[in-house]
């Protein structure tokens, strides 16, 4: 949605008068927050990525199932590297881990996505970035269960909304934070959407990101809006470690560009 078309969101009764962008993440750098990136892998030594805390791969096991194993921090497609660079640009001190759920970048499978997400929830990451989704309805119930488990374990899933008229998951689940794109060039500007299922709009147009081989490119798409919100979540959590996913989503709402009072002197908009 163009920034110019963002609706103003009134918040007529607010006991949380001090929740402003500055309260939420002022002075924070994401330090101590573990962020997991479910994607195509990450080129760890890219200057815009600046290293990883860990890298694993979802591969076939001997019994025809799937398993998670340590791997070299590589990325054949480049999508994960681009998303990692966005998280790093917003939350430079966050600890990034790559979970490659799409080896070689083929069409992949919902099963690999489920296995990777299950591992990430089990490992207790603070934030999980999913700039991807599955359109396979047979995985919907299992994905919803995993998203609920993550929610109750203080593990925040930030997922790309689909901008095509197709049914896809997990972004539509209320237990995750769903993100689409706006065209404002400020990486820290995001908007609350009062007409779900998309909950927030973040920068997603002509985003400077890491390209494979140490390059830099400009990209557009919800895939690149999502890691902006994941990075902002890491900032908020690094400053307010006690927040539950529900509270974190509330803080995101109160500090959104179209909700918070300009200049940050009175909390949410009450006019």
């Amino acid at each position: 949605m163009p920034a110019s078309a963002m609706p103003e969101e009134r918040f007529d009764v607010s006991p949380l008068g001090t929740v402003t962008p500055d309260w939420a993440w002022g002075g924070a750098n994401g330090s101590g927050i573990r962020v997991c990136l479910l994607d195509s892998g990450v080129e760890a030594d890219h200057p815009l990525v600046g290293g990883l805390d860990g890298a694993v791969d979802v591969i076939a096991d001997e019994d025809g199932g799937l398993k998670v194993v340590p791997t070299d921090p590589v990325d054949n497609a480049g999508h994960g590297t681009a998303c990692a660079s966005v998280i790093r640009s917003v939350a430079p001190a966050a600890l990034l881990t790559s979970v490659r759920v799409l080896s070689s970048g083929k069409t992949g499978s919902g099963a690999a996505l489920l296995t990777g997400l299950g591992w990430a929830v089990e490992q207790g990451f603070d934030v999980i970035n999913m700039s991807l989704s599955t359109t396979r309805t047979d995985f919907r119930a299992a994905l919803r269960d995993l998203a609920d488990s993550a929610y109750f374990r203080r593990c925040v899933i930030v997922a790309s909304a689909h901008n095509m008229p197709v049914h896809s998951y997990p972004w539509r689940f209320p237990s995750v934070i769903s993100v689409a794109s706006h065209d404002n060039p400020d990486p820290m500007t995001y908007y609350y959407n009062p007409a779900p299922p998309v909950e927030f709009y973040a920068r997603g147009v002509r985003v400077p990101v890491a390209g494979l081989g140490g390059r830099r490119i400009l990209t557009t798409g919800n895939s690149f809006a999502t890691p902006h919100i994941a990075g902002i979540c890491a900032l908020i959590l690094s400053k307010h470690r006690w927040l539950t996913p529900f509270q974190l989503k509330s803080v995101l709402y109160l500090a959104a560009e179209n909700v918070a009072v300009p200049d940050g002197d009175g909390g949410a908009r009450v006019d």
């Binding site: 163009p2 497609a77 480049g78 083929k106 069409t107 901008n163 494979l212 830099r216 490119i217 895939s223």
Partner: protein
């Protein structure tokens, strides 16, 4: 807004079958909407994971049909990873994308738009737009249009797959069907000896069966 209609009829004529003409017309529309240097539809070969060109308009349209390149790399790989429409600008600054595109089309673009083709829950291919023109448009609007075109294309592909499947089943039917000759022979032998009323009923049933087959075959041929 001025828009040039560019439909290269020689490609349409050589396409041969209605389904391919339909695919071709959609990539031509996509090229016209975006004023693009080229548009293409690539489908995943399930056996190899390669992407195969099914329809091309603009640069490469004369030689790309049927050619293939490895899936999972370049922007086609990005689209298949995310399942989302994407745009990459300033491609020429990125040797990987430029090389991939050049190898597949013989043309080096400045920007690439791509969207997944989702059929029955699976990403079966990619719709790609090379170098949309510089007419003032919204980037988000372009993404939305691209997504809608990809949905239309995927729907067409789904119909084509269904048609091909039913054609294959029809072709296989004579090999797997029952041999009715003995039955028909028996009916022909017994009919003259049957009671008049029973004979008339059987004859009417046979004529109805004949008419039904004639109608069905006529529909299939049409």
């Amino acid at each position: 807004m001025e828009m040039e209609a560019r439909v290269s009829t020689d490609v349409l004529e050589s396409a041969g079958i209605p389904q391919r003409r339909l695919l071709q017309s959609i990539v031509e529309v996509a090229r016209s909407v975006f004023g693009a240097a080229a548009t293409s539809v690539m489908l995943v070969d399930p056996a190899s994971g390669d992407l195969v060109f099914e329809a091309v308009a603009g640069e490469g349209e004369r030689h790309l049909l049927g050619s293939r390149f490895p899936g999972g790399t370049g922007i086609a790989g990005w689209v298949m990873v995310s399942g989302q429409p994407l745009v990459v600008d300033d491609v020429t600054d990125n040797p990987q994308f430029a090389r991939d595109a050049a190898e597949s089309t013989g043309y080096v673009p400045r920007s690439i738009m791509a969207a997944p083709l989702i059929c029955d829950g699976d990403c079966i291919g990619v719709l790609e737009i090379l170098d949309r023109d510089s007419r003032p448009r919204s980037d988000l609007g372009d993404m939305a249009s691209l997504g809608l075109l990809a949905i239309e294309m995927a729907t067409v592909l789904e119909v084509i797959v269904q048609l091909r499947r039913s054609e294959a089943e029809r072709a296989a039917a004579p090999r797997t069907g029952h041999d009715l000759s003995p039955l028909l022979q028996r009916v022909a032998e017994r009919l003259p000896r049957a009671d008049e009323k029973v004979g008339a009923t059987v004859t009417r049933l046979l004529m109805m069966a004949d008419d039904l087959l004639a109608d069905t075959l006529a529909d299939g041929d049409g």
